[in-house]
């Protein structure tokens, strides 16, 4: 049973090549500037010590700081570990706390991408496996943010209100894939 006031805890599913855990409840900021994106980028570079990537769907890792997900032109998501955040306001930009907006699951193992492919039409084959990445997509009509931490470790984050549906859809697929794998191995 899911506690709707927070993230589900613990490991939800485990099978050879596929594990689904609750994704950590981190601190998220949305930083955007339609009119002055370069100033926002410069501000973030100064505040964080690392210049964020501008290329959409890439992730910039800040040692000891947040991961910066480029999600659109002049728009970044800053993912901080709990308890940490951006200290100063960004000029001519909007930085908004959206920590309570998203919850999700960490999917890991060789079957992670196949699991994602059971509901998400996105082509992930072009991702550079050596770098983290991110993308907005859908999973069975549910809005989805994919944050790829490593090649086969994905954080799948959805708007909080969809969490129960997402969990159901994800587990349904995971069980089906595990049964398929078992069926194949048993001939």
């Amino acid at each position: 049973m899911i506690d709707h006031s927070g993230s589900p805890g613990g490991t939800l599913f485990s099978a050879p090549g596929l594990t689904i855990d609750a994704a950590p409840v981190d601190h998220w900021l949305q930083a955007g500037s339609r009119a002055h994106p370069s100033q926002l980028k410069a501000f973030l570079a100064t505040a964080l010590g690392v210049e964020p990537n501008e290329r959409v769907n890439t992730v910039t890792r800040v040692p000891g700081g947040p991961e910066i997900l480029a999600v659109g032109p002049g728009r970044w998501l800053l993912r901080y570990p709990p308890g940490r955040t951006l200290d100063s306001p960004a000029p001519q930009s909007s930085v908004t706390d959206i920590s309570d907006s998203m919850l999700g699951f960490r999917v890991s193992g060789d079957g992670a991408r196949e699991l994602l492919g059971t509901g998400c039409p996105l082509e992930l084959g072009d991702w550079d496996d050596t770098r983290p990445g991110c993308a907005h997509s859908l999973f069975h009509h549910i809005p989805l943010l994919i944050h790829r931490l490593q090649n086969n470790t994905l954080d799948l984050l959805v708007p909080r209100s969809y969490l129960a549906e997402f969990q159901h859809a994800l587990l349904h697929s995971a069980r089906a894939l595990a049964a398929l794998q078992s069926n194949t191995e048993n001939g």
């Binding site: 006031s5 339609r34 909007s94 920590s99 907006s101 196949e114 859809a169 089906a176 078992s182």
Partner: protein
């Protein structure tokens, strides 16, 4: 019955794995590797089903997806699956199948009486016959559907479950015959990611059925070896039992994979793949076509390639004594293989007048007589074939009856161009092979091998090799070593097909049935009739006669039908053309298309942060868009109506709490945020003081109301907007559109916060006291927090924003907290303190309170056709600034005095209920269409007035105040109306004294 038609050796079946199965209740045995069709034939079962229209006996006709006759119902109850092709059903333990379209049994089908009356049941007879009396058509239709059918769909929910998957690859190869296998090997050798799919359980296509050697091994073994080699490559995925059934835009192919049964309850029965590939290679093979002669549909008449497949692949003799009728060389291979498998082959009838001497030599070796320039004219028999009448191709009425129980026919081969044609490409006619072949591709696709009309094995292998390399190159892969792969060495009899068109045998009698479309019972007479009646377009012919419809979509019949139509039109076949090829190539279970999105999960459901609390309180939920929200919290023994009245009364007299987290919430920041809001809303927002909120109305460009909500100014350049729950995403899109397209110069940034904030409304005369106790650090009195005032503070220790907004007309506060703490806030507010009980209330009570106050609802009063003036909100329209929709409001039609405007209604007769949705009439009796002067948009039972009240949109609006109008309620009958009195739309506290308390 033992498998008396099974040979002791040969075939690609596993004799060590016998399988019991039942057909029409009788127990039979087959082997692992059998199809249902091969197992039935092995057991001597010839009569499998009854035909669609005439209920004629039908047997197995093919050995693949083109099967028109052997359609069976699998399983029972909710697991029943109609219209499955016995030729594609893999035999499994305890499989249960039934004949369909017969009553009471396939052997004694009373509806076969249709066949006796077939002379008066030609194509389209029901269009002409069942026209009068018109009122009986529903009965006619029911009877026609009962008499003509294709199995029975289960009437219970499908207990199976299905999996959907998206996949991407560089090269998708459809078909694992010789061309497909070579193509996949070639593409894979370049490092490209390759997906190879084949509809059969085993790879190889026709290689499974040939008696050839490739690279020194039997062709079936070579195919399995190549498949295994591909399976082991990391850049290749292979899927057997996977039928590519649709080719869609942007190089997407839909594939249905059948999963062999298992015991795991989570194992899906089918998997629907949506595959996008950079390049697609279609190696879908060719389909053999039948010959058209009288009574060519009897059980025992079979495609020659199929008879050969049963002999070679399944070690099954499809009869005891065979005749082969052909117009091409492959018929001779069939005769050889049948003879070698133990059948007596009585004759080969070849419609051609001359053939290669080598073929004649092969026949002579086996003692098989060959009649050149001859064909089959007619057959006789009952539920199985007894004899065929043969004769010269150009003389009506055959000369000789030949006893046989198997007639193997081959009318040549048609490339399976279906997927290619689904790309939008038009197949072109090839006179060399008398068939349609792929035309110029419309997508990143290449069709190869037999699907392109290449029926020669070495050519197919070479073509596959080249196509695989080319596909990889076009997908961006470097082909440095093009010669690294070669095709296998072929040994064995490998004949060119050399077909000569032979479209129709002479008709022995005037009314003889020469079936063109065996599945749909379409005969040459039907085609001639259609032509006589003017249905000369191939598309019209299809609709009139049903040629090419049904589960097989004319795979074996279309080309013969087109050729006959061409002859009737006295035009070449290319002028007749083909019908449009549409997905699916073979039938697809609806469950596979739906996947997991069925029942309650047909669309995702959204829950508010307080959902667990609502469940604990026993809430009854109702959908609101994708959201599920409490409709009310009924107490034990309480009806929903009583519950709603109690909850609404609690708000009016004490204090109530409702969850409004579903409200759309948007942060609007930037130097031009005020100006942006001025343009979006009809009223002014740049002048709104910080810490204050304002009700706003936004219009579409056509002047109609789009949405309403509130905007709170948080700082000089930051605003917080709320909009209606159902319109949240639409409003955000509206704002984004204007920012991106119309006013990109504005310095404004949007951030959706619907999910970030949980929100509740605490309403009622005692609400301030309840809230103040939980919010000691801020004064909530009218001086410090006036109506439409906003503060950031804490409530029950939770960081919160309080805005004094009322949707009920009572003193009320909207409280926003981070979503993760929504449940905590709800629990804290519901605690009874100082004997003040806070009553949770749901959407229905909220609706009572709204209607009593005459507040508009988006979707009810603002229904997309109403302006601000229609709803009495004209004073909100700013004259100092421009706003979206302003110009459209000048249109005369939007200012007409007779427009429907918002009014209130009360019953003229005490106790009457005013039904929502009723039409408003000026007179007590309806005078017919056009007499309506409006409609009831919302209605409820008022807790303060103790009577039914309604909001309505009525022509003239307040001009009719005090008038009596009449509500036509269809539920009461057309002439029954309810008198109602027109009032102002606000029924309660019109001065707003309670709100300003």
């Amino acid at each position: 019955m033992s498998q008396k038609f099974r040979n002791l050796t040969g075939g690609n079946i596993s004799r060590n794995s016998p399988l019991d199965f039942r057909f029409n209740g009788t127990l039979y045995q087959g082997y692992q590797g059998d199809t249902l069709a091969s197992a039935l034939l092995a057991n001597g079962v010839r009569l499998v089903g009854r035909s669609f229209k005439y209920h004629r006996p039908r047997g197995v006709f093919s050995a693949g997806p083109e099967e028109p006759s052997a359609l069976v119902q699998l399983g029972r109850g909710p697991l029943a699956e109609p219209n499955t092709r016995a030729t594609q059903v893999e035999l499994s333990a305890n499989l249960e199948a039934f004949s369909q379209n017969c009553w009471p049994s396939v052997n004694l089908d009373l509806l076969s009486i249709n066949n006796l009356f077939s002379a008066v049941l030609p194509a389209g007879f029901y269009y002409k016959t069942f026209m009068a009396p018109r009122r009986l058509w529903p009965w006619y239709e029911k009877m026609i559907r009962k008499a003509a059918g294709m199995g029975t769909a289960p009437d219970q929910a499908d207990p199976d479950h299905y999996l959907c998957s998206y996949a991407h690859c560089d090269v998708l190869v459809v078909g694992a015959g010789p061309s497909g296998l070579m193509s996949a090997r070639a593409a894979a050798s370049t490092g490209a990611s390759v997906m190879l799919v084949d509809e059969n359980p085993a790879p190889g296509g026709w290689l499974q059925r040939e008696r050839l050697n490739l690279d020194g091994m039997p062709s079936a073994n070579w195919a399995e070896s190549a498949w295994q080699e591909l399976t082991d490559l990391p850049n290749v995925t292979v899927h057997a039992r996977a039928t590519a059934f649709g080719y869609y835009d942007h190089n997407m192919v839909a594939i249905l994979e059948r999963i062999p049964g298992g015991t795991d309850k989570d194992l899906p029965s089918q998997r629907l793949w949506r595959v996008r590939a950079k390049r697609i290679v279609l190696a879908t093979g060719a389909i053999e076509r039948p010959l058209v002669f009288a009574n060519n549909d009897r059980p025992g008449v079979m495609l020659a390639g199929a008879a050969r497949a049963y002999a070679n692949q399944y070690a099954v003799r499809a009869g005891s004594r065979a005749v082969v009728a052909t117009n091409n060389n492959s018929g001779y291979l069939t005769a050889v293989d049948l003879a070698d498998s133990g059948l007596a082959v009585a004759a080969v009838m070849d419609s051609r007048c001359s053939v290669d001497h080598a073929l004649l030599g092969m026949m002579e070796e086996r003692g098989i007589p060959v009649d050149l320039g001859h064909t089959v004219h007619d057959t006789r028999g009952g539920k199985t074939l007894g004899a065929v009448r043969t004769g010269a191709t150009d003389v009506a009425g055959g000369s000789q009856w030949v006893d046989c129980d198997l007639l193997a026919v081959s009318g040549g081969w048609s490339p399976a161009v279906h997927l290619h044609a689904q790309t939008g490409a038009r197949p072109v006619y090839s006179p060399q092979i008398e068939a349609f072949v792929p035309g110029p591709s419309k997508q990143a696709e290449q069709t190869i091998g037999a699907a392109r009309g290449n029926y020669e094995l070495e050519g197919c292998l070479n073509e596959g090799l080249r196509a695989g390399m080319q596909a990889a190159r076009l997908a961006g892969f470097d082909i440095s070593d093009e010669d690294s792969l070669s095709i296998p060495a072929i040994s064995g009899v490998n004949l060119l097909y050399g077909q000569e068109a032979f479209w129709q045998a002479p008709r022995p009698g005037k009314r003889s049935k020469q079936f063109v479309d065996i599945q749909d019972d379409v005969t040459t007479l039907d085609i001639e009739l259609a032509h006589r009646e003017g249905y000369v377009s191939v598309e019209h012919l299809k609709r009139y006669t049903t040629l090419g419809m049904g589960t097989d979509q004319g795979k074996t019949s279309n080309i013969n039908g087109m050729a006959l139509l061409a002859r009737l039109r006295q035009e070449p076949i290319p002028r007749v053309g083909t019908t449009t090829f549409r997905p699916p190539y073979t039938p697809v279970t609806l469950g596979a298309l739906a996947g997991g999105e069925t029942g309650a999960r047909v669309k995702p459901t959204r829950h508010t942060p307080m959902h667990a609390q609502h469940l604990a309180l026993g809430a009854v939920f109702a959908p609101l868009g994708l959201w599920t929200r409490p409709q009310g919290y009924p107490r034990p023994g309480e009806s929903m109506q009583q519950c709603v009245q109690r909850e609404a009364r609690a708000v009016r007299s004490a204090v109530g709490l409702t969850d409004v987290s579903t409200l759309g919430k948007i942060s609007i920041q930037g130097a031009d945020a005020g100006e942006f809001l001025n343009r979006i809303y009809v009223n002014q927002f740049s002048s709104l003081p910080t810490g204050r909120a304002r009700y706003g109305l936004m219009l579409r460009e056509d002047g109609m109301i789009l949405d309403d909500g509130t905007v709170t100014r948080l700082s000089e350049h930051a605003y917080f907007m709320t909009c209606t729950s159902g319109n949240a995403s639409g409003v955000l899109q509206h704002l984004e559109y204007y920012l991106e397209v119309a006013w990109p110069e504005l310095d404004v940034n949007l951030c959706e916060l619907t999910e970030q904030w949980a929100a509740v409304a605490l309403a009622g005369p005692l609400s301030r006291g309840v809230l103040q106790r939980l919010c000691p650090e801020s004064a909530l009195d009218a001086t410090h927090l006036p109506v439409m005032g906003a503060i950031d503070t804490t409530v029950a220790g939770i960081p919160a924003r309080i805005i004094r907004i009322s949707f009920s007309g009572e003193l009320a506060f909207e409280i926003y907290v981070p979503s993760s703490r929504g449940g905590e806030l709800w629990d804290a507010l519901l605690v009874t303190r100082d004997h003040i009980e806070v009553t949770p209330y749901g959407m229905d009570a909220l609706e009572v309170l709204r209607i009593e106050k005459g507040f508009i609802g988006i979707g009810t009063e603002a229904d997309g056709r109403t302006t601000a003036e229609d709803l009495g909100l004209q004073r909100m329209l700013s004259k100092k600034k421009w706003f979206v929709g302003q110009l459209a409001l000048q249109r005369p039609g939007l200012n007409h005095a007779d427009r429907m405007k918002l009014v209130g209604l009360t019953p003229a007769i005490a106790g009457d209920e005013l039904p929502e949705g009723a039409q408003v009439l000026a007179q007590a009796v309806s005078t017919g269409p056009g007499c309506s002067i409006g409609h009831v948009s919302s209605s409820t039972h008022s807790v303060v007035l103790g009577t039914s009240i309604a909001l309505a949109l009525v022509k003239g609006g307040s001009i009719r105040s005090g008038d009596t109008v009449f509500l036509a309620d269809p539920a009461r009958g057309a002439n029954q109306t309810i008198p109602a009195r027109v009032t102002a739309p606000c029924f309660y506290d019109p001065e707003g004294a309670r709100l300003h308390d």
